[in-house]
Amino acid sequence: MLKNQAAPYPTSSQPQRRRQISDRTLSQLFIWPTLILLIAINIVPLFYSLFLSFTNFSAIANKPAEFVGFANFTRIFNDEDIWGYFALTGRYALISVGLQTVIGFGLALLLRKKFRGSGILTTLILIPMMLSPVVVGLFWKLMFNPSYGIFNYLIGLTNPATAPDWLANSQTALWAVIIVDVWMWSPFVMLLCLSGLSAIPDYLYEAAAIDRASPWFQFWRITLPQVAPLLLIAVLFRTIEAFKAFDLVMGLTGGGPGDATQMISVEIYSQAFLGQFRTGRASALAYVVLVIIIAVSNVYIRTLNKVREG
């Protein structure tokens, strides 16, 4: 397939025509390198993993993939642990995205009016989302450390003997991951909300002041509906990302303690690259997650369209 599609451009380069490349050829010259890369590292693995999900292939076993029908999917749907990981991921996504929405929107409301240094403050707030998640995971691991970490100190638990070890306790580990995720991604929600807020024309508030609307009424009837489309986009992005949470979790807890933070992506990783290297089953699980994310996104996009049209 690759070879056939890549063929046109070497053949079209006949000696006379070489000096005058047609627009069509030129555009193809620009498009194909990118397209080839995309096909090689995105499309091919996508279909290859779809194929693998119906086999018992293992990356370390030295034997060819064997077709097993829907066996991988049946196992996944009958595995209570995996259902638990789905539930955990869902709960994580719900709490984390919920907090990010509230905090991000709140920050945007505070930073909406320009004041001295508000530009610098906004930039500073945006720094967390520019960092690499693995790096964030690693340095928060240090900050969460019960004996020398700064986190407990900051929230007032200054006695190392009684202060919680956030990452080692199965009750608090999920919350630790949520705290870091909220710290890292609230700025993203804030950024989108801020651009939404700045797009609301002043005259709407003037009209509302003339119409004798209280600040509370103005917020619910003007600010919120006007920001809603961008807010929903932020929530959509964050929900998809939260469902795929992996790098941050790996950096912080690696899924532990026990399976307290075993998000579904971490589970896929464990299936694929730990123990028996169950590549086939991991592929099947990845496809289940893909279908769920597409379904959830669809719900959001429909809501978004409804908000836009009213």
Binding site: Y203, L204, E206, A207, A208, A209, I210, D211, R212, P225
Partner: protein
């Protein structure tokens, strides 16, 4: 309803005056028009009355109550914006309901009032639409309905027809005037269009460069402009203004013209100015009467047929152009030399230095 009183109200942006200290009383039920070129401070004045703009000095009284520092929502005043300022995410009905809901009115009251105003403004069939789906005229009707629905003490309108097409503008002008006559609410209306101002206002406040030039009925500002600015600004075309020299009851004008001051003006001018000096003669195009024994002579520079009359562009000395109305039956080829007289009661004189009008004791 309401009287609005401005006492020495001024607005400065930095060191620049947007409105120099002004006094103005808007009577109960009056339709007052603030008229002036853009940047003259008329919109700022309106916004100060509404409370959307804070004054830098002076007091604003609403029905005798000092509202200078009251929030717009505490003034019981409706404001119609130039670009409508409808809530884009709400339907026409929700837009109109907004001020009532903000006051926590009951459902029945809201439904009843919306029905009343939408009948009045003939927008019942549009209530389910959002502003984006409405034409400019209909958007302005919805904006008017939103202002009317809460029965405010006074209406402030900031060039409400400015954003409309010419054809809509005339019909909406009539509609707003009818509404005013029905409701009899105190209204302040800002426009830069002097025809609109003449057509709608009970009184007109002419402003320029942050200063009130004249306050008066449309007839007053048209016939008795207090200054050269008002004389030029009101009317289309404006008043003809010819600089000349006054001496012994005669005004010497360009092109060797000599105009004898009408008897009713003799004494007034004599009392108000020196025996001789510079003066500006003013008259409206319709004050010119073409007659073979008129004291003034001029050459036709151009002639436009305006349907019911001819507008002649005349030149006294080959330079300054005057406008004069002539009957549409007569034909005036370019270059025709003609003589004309001025209707003595419609002639005005202005001080060439102060640019203010001289009073006519007999006329006033």
């Amino acid at each position: 309803m309401a009287t609005i009183e401005l006492q020495q109200v001024e607005k400065k942006f930095g060191e620049v005056y947007a409105v120099k200290p002004m006094d103005l009383t808007i009577r109960d039920g009056e339709f007052l028009v603030l008229l002036g070129p853009s940047g003259c401070g008329k919109t700022t004045t309106l916004r100060m009355i509404s409370g959307l703009e804070a004054v830098t000095a002076g007091r604003i009284l609403l029905n005798g109550r000092d509202v200078t520092w009251a929030h717009p929502s505490d003034r019981d005043i409706a404001f119609v914006f130039q670009f409508f300022a409808l809530y884009p995410h709400l339907s026409a009905r929700q837009n109109i309901a907004f001020p009532l809901q903000a006051q926590g009115e009951s459902r029945q009251t809201i439904d009843r009032r919306i029905k009343e105003v939408s009948q009045l403004l003939r927008i019942e069939h549009l209530l389910h639409l959002r502003p984006g789906a409405l034409s400019g005229g209909d958007q302005q009707r919805v904006a008017l309905a939103r202002a009317l629905v809460r029965r405010p003490a006074a209406f402030l309108m900031d060039e409400p027809l400015g954003a409309l097409d010419a054809e809509f503008r005339e019909s909406m002008r009539a509609e707003i005037k009818r509404l005013h006559l029905d409701q009899h609410a105190t209204s302040v209306y800002v426009t830069h269009d002097q025809i609109e101002a003449m057509a709608m206002g009970d009184r007109i406040v002419v402003m320029s460069s942050a200063v009130v030039q004249q306050v008066g009925t449309p007839a007053e500002v048209y016939h008795n402009p207090r200054s050269l600015f008002v004389a030029r600004f009101i009317g289309s075309p404006g008043m003809n203004l010819i600089p000349g020299d006054y001496a012994d009851g005669m005004v010497n004008l360009p092109g060797g013209n000599c105009y004898p001051v009408p008897p009713i003006w003799q004494r007034s001018l004599h009392n108000q100015m020196a025996r001789a000096g510079r003066i500006i003669l003013g008259f409206r195009p319709e004050a010119a009467q073409i007659s073979s024994d008129g004291p003034l002579h001029a050459e036709v520079y151009a002639a436009d047929l305006h349907g019911s009359y001819n507008m002649l562009h005349l030149s006294l000395d080959g330079k300054d152009i005057l406008h004069a109305r002539a009957s549409r039956q007569e034909h005036f080829p370019i270059g025709t030399k003609l003589r004309f007289d001025l209707h003595p009661e419609w002639v005005r004189f202005f001080n060439a230095d102060t640019e203010l009008a001289y009073d006519c004791e007999v006329a006033s």
